[in-house]
Symmetry: C2
Subunit: 430 residues, 2 copies
């Protein structure tokens, strides 16, 4: 099927999904989980094809992300069951207004309709995204990277078998057949057929969506996350948080990429930092963190001199940019200039400074005395997520089921009319 | 100043506005209202220039929208005081989550930053939009139609005098000096300088924004609003609602443009409709409604035959498209095809039909037994509004103060770190 045909078919699944009750959707998720495991052999065979075709063409890290195993499939099935266990966002009355004229206005959460997701060669995203969209009452149209196509296709076949079991339309979950740039552009401009487009990928994909998308789009983003160690910080706590934010999982978007240290504590803190992240890690046989230092930091500890691009780089690696700042205001200004509006933290015992930082830093999540690594749907208690939004419209931060819905006002009346030109019916005209 | 310079200056007003407390913002609104009336002479003189330049070039309706009078200025000042009386949306904790690890996560309403508004030659929009943006804690950058520029400029000068009185930065409210298409395009693509763009105007402007905007944008929309008279409708109520939705104010976006009548009641209802909207209005010396009928309706009453474009036209006039449908499903399908997702109503005593209509019709407001004319911030009890959103992302329906804000997660910790790679600090390394 062409991309247009797939989108048209997805549109036909909108109403059955919008009308499906919670029980049916949860049964579908269970049936999809069962079907995924039942199709293990076909899926692993397809994945083997993908891996063989990709070998030599992509990096080892990419190959690892592409590879499926029985244990990864079990995790994917588990993920779908976790979505089933979450509360149904559809139908929630977000606000109820009773007007003096008797109108009862219910602001009600409703499905988006058709959600398109463009992602890279990670087959597990297929079941994660499909499960979240289904529970949110929307059809999903998936467009994966070409290296994962056979794997994703086999997964979608299995998920559709699950849908059929509970008599939901199989077009509720579709995979675009074309993995060229053309199909991504088609999704970005499919006005009236795509209610929400979520690009999950690198900066290039996000930029292409911002520039070309005419359909509603949510940027899930890169994270140049900052930790600022204030003059009034507990330096032991600061070190624990910086170590955690940088080294607990450097490849993810909520990892710290830049450290700002107040001048008053730099001479004490920076040597602690270097001992912990460089010397002790080396001694323990761990990858040391490469410190990219501005000139003030470099006058206190050894490291790599920071180049002009360092503070605008998402390393996703054992690297950390370090700058000394003169004040809280300088820290806020530095963050305003370099942040991607994902997550930033201040370490301080000064409540006024903390409040000021929280007000002035314009990011999805602002932490006071905690690691940036918590920006995550599960860690926030929102359940599974579709990604982390770094934009301000609609959803900011982790996008869980609620953020995958829109709302409508359902207004119950008993004949109310509004003032304006006089009605002829005040003296009945019939 | 160039558009870029104005945007840069607006950016400098972001933080002082975000930090302004409710009392200061309300004082500013009062000072702006006072300053507007104090500057009445200058504003009316500027408006006279605008009117003289526009005369002959624009329609009488447009001239009327452009014209200011002492009484209209009083209404504008009153509008600003109404905004002052509304609750402050900024700082509201929308959700508070306490995690088992002790993190306290507050989802907090915060200002957008800089809101740009492109509008036409209606000077009153200047003070309405500026007041709403200010109360929502954002700077606003206004771009009016060229016919109203002198009037809007004089109004902005007055509003800025009010801002200075309370020591808020005057760049909190700016008017773009260039009224050519170039400045609109500059606003649409001012990435990083415009946090939200709201186009208020005709379909051409909205389309240009959808196609060209790379900054976040909310469509305020055209309304092809439907009323569906079900087989189980109270026909007297249906007639009252149809008359109100069509004739109480035909020029607004929540007026009815199309009527769908179930086949079972068409032979009874359509003659009632014609008597009320055509014959009795004519007899009363009022403009009769021109009925554009599909073939089934035309076999029952007289009217103009509906052409292919009629059901996709927002008349904003004493015209109504009328179609007979075979079923509730047909009505839902007709609306899905022709609606602009603004407001639709069903008139029925059948609760199941009402529920199905509410679920299946994909519009910002869905009415059961009430007029579409209620889709309005004031009528919904939300206070003043910036417009009616017809999109699904972020805001749907009336956009009040809450919808002009975004949110951030403010996370309070006491040193929390997240699991992952082991910390060397479990045995302190310093």
């Amino acid at each position: 099927m062409t991309t247009q045909e797939i989108l048209q078919a997805a549109q036909t699944a909108r109403l059955p999904l919008a009308m499906a009750d919670t029980h049916t959707k949860n049964e579908a998720l269970e049936a999809m989980a069962v079907a995924l495991i039942a199709a293990q052999e076909e899926i692993l065979a397809a994945n083997k094809q993908d891996l063989e075709a990709a070998r030599g063409r992509v990096s080892d890290v990419m190959l690892d992300r592409l590879a499926l195993t029985p244990s990864r499939l079990t995790d994917m099935a588990k993920g779908m069951r976790e979505v089933a266990a979450l509360p149904d966002p559809v139908g929630a009355v977000l606000r109820k207004i009773v007007r003096p004229n008797g109108l009862v206005i219910e602001k009600t959460a409703v499905p988006m309709g058709v959600i398109a997701i463009i992602y890279e060669s990670r087959p597990n995203v297929t079941s994660d995204a499909a499960a979240l969209a289904l529970k949110a009452g929307s059809a999903c149209v998936l467009r994966c990277g070409r290296d994962a196509w056979a794997s994703c296709h086999a997964i979608v076949q299995a998920l559709r078998a699950g849908l059929r079991k509970v008599h939901l339309p199989e077009h509720a979950i579709s995979l675009i057949e074309d993995t060229s740039h053309a199909s991504a552009n088609e999704l970005m401009t499919a006005d009236g057929l795509v209610d929400l487009l979520i690009p999950r990928g690198g900066a290039g994909l996000i930029r292409a969506c911002v520039e070309n998308a005419t359909v509603p789009c949510i940027q899930t983003g890169t994270g140049i996350c900052h930790v600022y160690v204030d003059a009034d910080a507990d330096l032991d706590m600061a070190l624990r948080i910086v170590e955690n934010a940088k080294t607990s999982r450097p490849s993810v978007c909520n990892a710290e990429e830049a450290l700002l240290v107040h001048r008053d504590v730099a001479a004490t803190f920076l040597p602690m930092l270097k001992k912990c992240l460089v010397d002790d890690r080396t001694a323990a046989g761990l990858t040391p963190v490469e410190l990219h230092l501005d000139s003030a930091a470099a006058s206190i500890i050894d490291g790599v001199p920071a180049g002009p691009a360092d503070f605008d780089t998402e390393y996703l690696d054992y690297k950390l940019s370090v700058a000394v700042v003169d004040s809280l205001e300088d820290a806020i200004a530095h963050i305003a200039k370099h942040s991607t509006h994902h997550s930033e933290a201040i370490i301080t015992n000064d409540k006024v400074a903390a409040q000021r930082f929280a007000t002035c830093v314009d990011s999805a999540a602002v932490y006071i005395n905690a690691s940036t690594r918590f920006t995550d749907g599960g860690e926030f208690g929102l359940g599974c997520e579709m990604g982390i939004s770094t934009q301000k419209l609609h959803a900011r931060g982790p996008m869980g089921l609620a953020e995958l819905c829109t709302y409508k006002y359902i207004v119950h009346g008993n004949g109310q009319t509004r003032g304006g030109a006089a009605s002829l019916l005040q003296t009945p005209c019939h």
